[in-house]
């Protein structure tokens, strides 16, 4: 049957959506658990335990990365090109923004922005860059 994407890519997309959904649910559960533990038991916990708890959200984030890489490898070469260009733009925009803002923070005393915002910024810019790059090839 003719369609926009071949069957192997459709299967890969279904797996990607499933992997992301599972990782998303695990992330929410882990963050909720970690916040609860840190807030309610911080005084009783040894420092190493706080570090371990603080690192737990990284596990579902790695699950997401693995899911994306599997999906990326299942794409056809044209879609891999689009994704590669989008990530190149993302690295440039987010990297340069962090670099620029760090000077403003240090020398112009602009408000401090936590590193936690780098990952959401990557996702946001990557989404926009994907749309722009795809449009270029239409």
């Amino acid at each position: 049957m003719s369609c926009e994407v071949p069957e192997n890519m459709r299967q890969a997309k279904r797996r990607y959506v499933r992997d992301m959904a599972i990782a998303g649910v695990v992330y929410l559960a882990v963050v909720y658990g970690a916040v609860t533990l840190i807030r309610h038991a911080q005084l009783d916990l040894p420092y190493w335990a706080v570090i371990v708890i603080a690192l737990t959200p990284v596990a579902p984030a790695l699950m997401m990365l693995r899911g994306y890489l599997i999906y990326f490898r299942a794409m056809d070469e044209f879609n891999r090109r689009i994704q590669s260009e989008a990530w190149l733009i993302t690295a440039g925009v987010v990297g340069l923004s962090c670099f620029t803002y760090s000077f403003l923070e240090e020398w112009a005393h602009l408000p401090r922005i936590g590193l936690i915002w780098v990952f959401p910024a990557l996702i946001l810019v990557w989404g926009s860059a994907t749309v722009l790059v795809r449009r270029r090839y239409q």
């Binding site: 003719s2 044209f78 090839y137």
Partner: protein, 68 residues
Amino acid sequence: MRNRLKILRAEQNWSQADLADRLEVSRQSVNAIETGKYDPSLPLAFKIARVFAQPIEQIFSDDEAVAE
């Protein structure tokens, strides 16, 4: 790089999606190749040649060679 993909596809009476199915790529890939916005890799170019049962140089031509 120029190509005769659109003409060859029309001769076979295939849609872009039909050709994409045969090449195991997305329809957008076929569209981008046809419009010259994306040059396929050598393995994909060989696959296209196999699908149309034609030598690769009958389907793709180098822009610079054409200019000369």
